[in-house]
């Protein structure tokens, strides 16, 4: 099968979209609402091309044999320009504070087509801002009604975002239904082309951790950040910039930089202990719990599965606890004088640190969570020359992590770490359905079925399967975001399948570079157990937690400050 694009014959396959074929053959077509993670809804109409003189959206139109396609002409340009002007008329710009600030598709297109951004007044300038817990904000005055957020939230199995009538028009709103709640995965953030969603604190809060001058600021860096943060500075996808990041943070005045993978080694040791216990007591399946969005999903939507979540705390919470309870004492600091900041790929972590039951004697293990994007912004604002900075080394009071600690950043990492910690054999995983990989292994002469799941919608399917057949899987890792934390809601934008792959590649490299592979072989971690985590009580205080059924959380709505006097 073939089509003709701008006069050139090109090969295509049945069912392909015009956009795919054009891009593969080096023809440029502008797109705005299209995101490769989602089925094209073709709402923006920017990607129109002419087929036999008729305009069709290239992102959603399938090729037919012999089709003659024109990707550019004065008529197409005119249509794109006017549609862009209409899109800007429902989008209140707030560029300085926007996650797309430096790579905004809307602004790029505006430039390309000579768009008058203010041709029409912003009809949404008085639309409200919604606040979802400690994690997200949705500024509906920026929304261009593409519905990508609704689709991705549906794909996550959550369906918290909806369309609601508003006079003549519809608007995208958080659901008022009692049985719907946001679980803070943040996927709506990186699927919104208009920057209407952002994390709490983005970017007005980026200097907060440094506000209390008397405090020592300690940063701990999540695995998935190291292969992404470079994107903020134009480095190629998948670049691993651990060393640059460490020196950059130091330049900001951070006192210590710790590595979350060290915390992950503790999680692994505790989690594999619990797994063995549960296998013996036949108290399965067990679920991982290091993804707070997944935890909230279970707590809110599937409370019957709460007992299946491992009681082990997530790596940065354990490391935060160790910093405040152990490291502080060793170094002669007062824990109240420390400001522990987690640098995370994730917005759900902002919610996680607020959980009361994680407090240790009334003190939170982690004081603040910053996303990859936030730290990127802060470094740029502070004029740090990330590209050329010399590579620094982490402060490692509890030693360097194992490779498996770094692997936590991508789907499958937690499972493999815990499992390798108790087994000499490798488990061979194969993908059985979208986002679900399984393996069968033998532990203590029992057959154990492992499942690694990423994307909450896929996890929901697995939970439904477990309801019918509780024996289907015995140990299940779930990461809410597609690809795991490398595709997290706090990561740089854009994020898509190709980019996630590159980030994963980078992380695998970083994993391989570690001298120790397994957590249990990490002598320095073992030393902490001997030194500090020597009693059941200490272990449970630092490393374990509990979960409970939660009701719908309150969505605060705040009015837009009338900026334009409209």
């Amino acid at each position: 099968m073939e089509v003709i694009i701008n006069g050139k014959r090109v090969e295509t396959k049945e069912g392909e979209k015009i956009l795919t074929v054009a891009e593969r053959n080096g023809f440029y077509i502008p797109v705005l609402c299209f995101h490769s993670d989602l089925c094209a809804m073709a709402s923006c109409r920017i990607c129109v091309v002419a087929v036999n003189g008729k305009f069709v959206p290239s992102c959603s139109t399938e090729v037919r044999n012999g089709m003659e396609i024109t990707t550019n002409s004065p008529a197409l340009e005119k249509a794109r320009k006017i549609n862009l002007e209409l899109l800007f008329s429902q989008h209140q710009e707030e560029c300085d504070d926007c996650i797309w600030n430096l790579n905004c598709k809307m602004l790029d297109l505006a430039k390309e087509y000579g768009v008058e951004i203010n041709r029409f007044w912003d009809r949404k300038s008085h639309y409200p801002v919604y606040h979802f817990g400690a994690s997200l904000e949705y500024d509906s005055s920026k929304c261009i009604d593409c519905r990508n957020c609704i689709e991705i939230c549906k794909k996550q199995g959550v369906e918290f975002l909806e369309i609601k009538g508003r006079g003549h028009l519809f608007e995208v709103v958080p659901s008022e239904k009692e049985n719907r709640d946001c679980i803070y995965c943040g996927q709506c953030i990186n699927h919104c082309p208009a920057g209407a969603f952002e994390a709490v604190g983005e970017f007005e809060g980026i200097e907060k951790p440094f506000a209390e001058k008397e405090k020592k600021v300690i940063f701990q860096v999540a695995p998935a950040v190291r292969s992404t943060i470079g994107e903020e500075f134009g480095l190629p996808y998948g670049s691993v910039s651990t060393g640059k990041l460490v020196s950059s943070l130091r330049e900001l005045g951070v006192d210590k930089v710790f590595d979350v993978p060290v915390g992950a080694d503790f999680t692994t040791i505790e989690e594999s202990k619990e797994l063995l216990e549960r296998i013996e007591k036949n108290n399965l399946p067990m679920f991982t719990s290091c993804c707070p969005a997944w935890v909230k999903f279970v707590e809110f939507y599937y409370p019957e599965f709460i007992p299946n979540l491992t009681s082990v705390r997530s790596p940065h919470i354990i490391l935060g606890g160790l910093i405040k309870e152990h490291f502080a004492k060793k170094e002669g600091f007062i824990k109240e004088e420390l400001m522990v900041v987690s640098l995370m790929p994730c917005v759900a972590k902002k919610h996680e640190i607020e959980r009361e039951e994680l407090m240790i004697d009334g003190v939170r293990p982690v004081d603040y969570v910053m996303t990859t994007r936030e730290v990127g912004r802060l470094l740029k604002k502070s004029g740090v020359d990330f590209g050329n900075i010399k590579e620094g080394e982490m402060d490692n009071p509890f030693g360097e992590s194992s490779g498996s600690g770094v692997a936590y950043g991508t789907s499958g990492g937690v499972m493999q770490s815990a499992f390798y910690n108790i087994s000499e054999k490798e488990a061979e995983f194969r993908e059985v359905e979208e986002g679900v990989s399984v393996a069968e292994v033998e532990v203590k002469r029992k057959k154990i079925r492992l499942a690694v799941v990423h994307g909450l919608g896929n996890a929901k399917k697995v939970l439904e399967q477990l309801k019918k057949d509780p024996e289907k899987y015995h140990y299940i890792e779930v990461m809410a975001c597609s690809g795991g934390c490398i595709g997290g809601g706090g990561q740089s934008v854009p994020t898509d399948e190709k980019i996630r792959k590159e980030r994963k590649g980078g992380l695998c490299k970083a994993t391989g570079e570690k001298k120790i592979r397994k957590a249990k072989d990490n002598q320095e971690v073992i030393a902490v157990y001997d030194d500090f985590l020597s009693s059941e009580e200490a272990i449970s205080k630092i490393c374990h937690t509990r979960y409970y059924k939660v009701g719908k959380s309150f969505v605060r709505k705040s009015e837009q400050k009338e900026k334009n006097g409209d």
Partner: protein, 321 residues
Amino acid sequence: MVDIILKLKEKQLLGRSGSMFPVGEKWEVVRSIPSEKKYVVCNASEGEIDTFKDYYLLKNYPEVVIDGILIAMDTLGAQKGYIYLNKDYYQEFFPALKSVAGERIEIVEKKGGYIGGEETAVIEAIEGNPPEPRIKPPFPSEKGLWGCSTLVNNVETFYFVSKIKKDDYRESRFYSIGGDAPNRGVFEFPESITIKDLLEKTDNSPSFDYFLQVGGGACGEVMLENEINRKIDGLGSVIIYDREKTDINLLMKKWVDFLLVGNCDKCTPCREGLYRIMEMIEKGNYDEIEDMFYVMEETSLCPLGKVAVTPFKTLLKKIWK
């Protein structure tokens, strides 16, 4: 048995929803496509302002319409048929239709506004989803209800299918005449009749200064007295406006309000274009309206956005000074 599809083709029956799509061709596609199941849908969502020919047929000839649906089901091998009725028609006709429809035909109440009548929106609604248009292709005849090949035809189309089967078809169609017409109603006349003759023969030639809207009270085209020597394409609906009594701005406001509520807000040109047209009407300034027409006609997702331009465009061109 004489093949009904051949007869439909021979008689050149065109879809009576306004689409003018050859009925025989559509049936042929549904018949020839391999599909696990097949469905037939009778679209009785009649939503255009001041248009009521389907109402007339449902009220007076429900058994003929249902006969047409059953013919389609038998010809195409569909187990199940649906009648998709707008809210008012559902209220009024449900009992009568139910008694003739039998087990194989289910009667469904329309959801949503005007756009709920677009054929793919009808499919979405019957499936239980919000009534929003789908991206075409695939067309319903290829992939309709639950992914199966589905025939969607209008009430009047099914009426004439039954007539054609009985060799009782005289190339006629139904016209609804409304607005300031002296003799409002639904009338059956040949397809080839001119508007002028239609008005005369139905005692509807106005004695006052007038203009017409042909093809529906929202998306129909505005026509002047000197344009009535032609036949009607598209929807068989004529609305007469008394020029003196009609406030042009109010009329456009009525259209735009109807369309803004009736559309699905899915695509930029139709959603934002109509919104800005509303604003222009409020301000009485149409300097930039051509740009709205352009993107709506060229880039809207579904037919509504494209035809929604017609009334404004023709009214402004022919009447607005």
